[in-house]
Symmetry: C2
Subunit: 546 residues, 2 copies
Amino acid sequence: MKIALAQLNFHVGNFSHNVNKINNAIGKAKQNKVDLIVFSELAVSGYPPRDFLEFNDFIDKCQSAVESIASECNDIAAIIGSPTRNPEFKGKALYNSAYFLAEGKIQDVVHKTLLPNYDIFDEYRYFEPNTVFKTIEFKGHKIALTICEDLWNIGNDPLYIVNPMDELAKQNPDLMINIAASPFDYNQPKRRKKILLQNVEKYKIPLFYVNHVGAQTELLFDGGSLVINKNSEVVDELKYFDEDFKVFDVDEIESKKFNKIHKTETEKIALIHDALVMGVRNYFEKLGFKKAILGLSGGIDSAVSHVIAARALSGENVRGILMPSKFSSLHSISDAKLLAENCNSPYDIISIEEIYKSYDQSLKPFFNDLPFNVAEENLQARARAMLLMALSNKFGYILLNTSNKSEAAVGYGTLYGDMCGGLSVIGDVYKSDVFRLAHYINKDKKIIPENTINKPPSAELRPNQKDSDSLPDYKILDEILYEYIEKRKGPQELIKMGFDVDFVKRVLKLVNTNEYKRYQTPPILRISPKAFGIGRRMPIVAKYLS
Amino acid sequence: MKIALAQLNFHVGNFSHNVNKINNAIGKAKQNKVDLIVFSELAVSGYPPRDFLEFNDFIDKCQSAVESIASECNDIAAIIGSPTRNPEFKGKALYNSAYFLAEGKIQDVVHKTLLPNYDIFDEYRYFEPNTVFKTIEFKGHKIALTICEDLWNIGNDPLYIVNPMDELAKQNPDLMINIAASPFDYNQPKRRKKILLQNVEKYKIPLFYVNHVGAQTELLFDGGSLVINKNSEVVDELKYFDEDFKVFDVDEIESKKFNKIHKTETEKIALIHDALVMGVRNYFEKLGFKKAILGLSGGIDSAVSHVIAARALSGENVRGILMPSKFSSLHSISDAKLLAENCNSPYDIISIEEIYKSYDQSLKPFFNDLPFNVAEENLQARARAMLLMALSNKFGYILLNTSNKSEAAVGYGTLYGDMCGGLSVIGDVYKSDVFRLAHYINKDKKIIPENTINKPPSAELRPNQKDSDSLPDYKILDEILYEYIEKRKGPQELIKMGFDVDFVKRVLKLVNTNEYKRYQTPPILRISPKAFGIGRRMPIVAKYLS
């Protein structure tokens, strides 16, 4: 039996686009004499459809899409993800399902049992968990068909009471198929492969795994679909961060010896780089935009963001705007220019001096000679944002936000100023990793000017300002932020780890009192296990460690 | 047996504040010879604690708080909500629990069975559902103790497979106690009472119900705790939108005849008004702010927002800023002035002309003589926002956002312009209801100038602009928005209802393509069953009805 894995980049709600992609893959599979083609989780709707699932019209369109795909399934079978209605009056209205299509119609459907409802996942918001377990018989094989999380309740700390593969194993299946939409973070490719291998080791039958690929607002899906034979050998992997299609023979995969070594790049910074490039590219493509604009300060955050955007959209489609003030250092302009030139990107220089003066004049009667403070600093950042948004509105760019995760965490940024943008490129990357990304980008050729990497970070909003005036060294700041945000360590645990008591108190207070700023930031491309955005849900009005 | 209901306004994560409130109520109950005092759901932590629940330190603090409260429970028993740890290795780490405290220590604990996970609720994100049912015996009574949603799976369309009261009823309890954090919307007081009455009618035992009160970021809790006797008579209700404390004798409530008529205001506009006033007041109090600033345009949205803020914070604490441009109508300034004067609020006039000119000059070389369009319109709105934020930063105000729900829905607002603010006052109120609110505010005394109410709405960003130039009549727009947003009707259903085909298409497209703007709006006080914010989760990158 020949099985094709179709790893495709779907577009939420874009049914004609998704169905076309699926039907093209079915056509290709037929040419390859494939018996069964497998698509990813919720393929017809795109993943995650979020609250569109609450619209009857949306579910109707999913149903129609499945029926139209089924009609293509002659001389071939297909497994495809779609939401389906729960026919019972009790429980949630929908299931997260996998259809088995053959002979031109729907032959069977199985539902997802384990519904992730943590971090960025909200599946129990929409779906009723499955409680009935049945294998699917096809061409002499008995298939245990599961959906994503269904294979993840393995190991010593199970999140769910049931384990669907334990139930299905009772029916003696001879192969596992899992359709997934497993979002990327820099630990995920390794962790995912480990979990999938654990399943094969436990159930001792081969696994065909198809993952979603592509970016969906802040979520990135890295693909890396794979086949593992019953000897726990990774037979093959599909591409990371791109669409792919491969055909496997169920019998042949057992008769060869394969290398267990991962063949893809799993080094953290390289993964982050590739994920961000895909994230920017898909955000623009799927929204129908071609060109980006961003403020180039001569600093490392805007430089790294610019290069990633240039790699995603092509350099000439990324316009850099240099907006010096009287506080800008001598190198700011020359560093920013050099970066733009290295990327073949257009750039312009617009001074904010006159605009700033007009605000100063208008506000003078109300500011009562109070000293220069954060109000004036923010005015500069906001004047820049207004210029960028004006160009964006005039010419149809998307403004890219260039804040990093360390700044976003401690609120070192101006709301409606440098926190503006349609998409945050590196908002999930700590400053220390932004430096690593810069070195990675420069590994073959100097693209980011050396001076941009080596000079001390500064917002340049007052004379001789440096980030280190008001923030601790990024290395130590990032360590504590990681322990607090990613690891949810409390103050006592942090102090026990050796961090200074006052410093811990100060950083945690900064993180928590700046929740109100993060509430209004653009979507942030998620590359870590705990990004700001839909996966981290905090009250603004609270008094805890603050 | 005497039972006290303590309806209190808790503060998320503010353990000392919450414990003090609780202990004060226990003291008061002891003076009143109360046998059992009942507090609301997750009282010790505040509701909802959201992802703070993922911090071990936070749960430790909840535990300590409960133990310290238990030590106050001599000669009195207490029921109090708190998260507790799940001792099993399987399943979610926590339960949403109700402690039974007596004789200075924890006597018993029951867990919530039905975990709401829709709209604004995320309880299955944190909590494992209860599966063990036991009543609590106290002073000759057998109490069926449940938590909020546990009583809501009644009626013809159950959302859950189990019904906890059906299980508890098997043990023949003689009274029900339910502790809740049931968020307000304008339908909720009526709906909640109906559900509670259905429970008493079904199980034929009295119900003591304690709800949370107060605002928590966007969520409003209206209180209205109540007692229903076994004859399904509402014995008494506690206050709406305020803290309250009342003592009841379990035997006496059965021996009297009570009026089934609701004694509180349930008229929609009055409820919205009171909810918004509480929402603004609590947002400021709980964040430690006293003063607000907002832009007064002379229009109805800023006028209604101003009055609500003035009622929440006192008129002199709300500063109105009038920021005319050359497009402002003659009446804008005089209407806005009159409004501020009627509220005893300070106001200032700052022209945006010079600022606008400085942008115009700076951008001229880049705009290539392209015609005046949305770029220039947005510049005006953003210049105003920058002035407001500068004053806000200088003097420590919170900027109030004055956008209404109709505008927010169709994207008729400028990101980083009039969409700025720390809190949106009327962002969940459709324009038609803003007019009703204005009339309600004016019912006894003319506070909002007649001209503000009667003139055609306009953003005044170009000559003689009116909302009706680019938007349909608000009456019909609001009807369709309500059907699409609150009722999740699709295009076919809307057309069947009689709405024009092209109009439906246009409005739905506006709603869906403006998701990116709403992603970055301030928290919106939630008064409807479907508000923009945490209860409506949409992808930005999608192609559905758009």
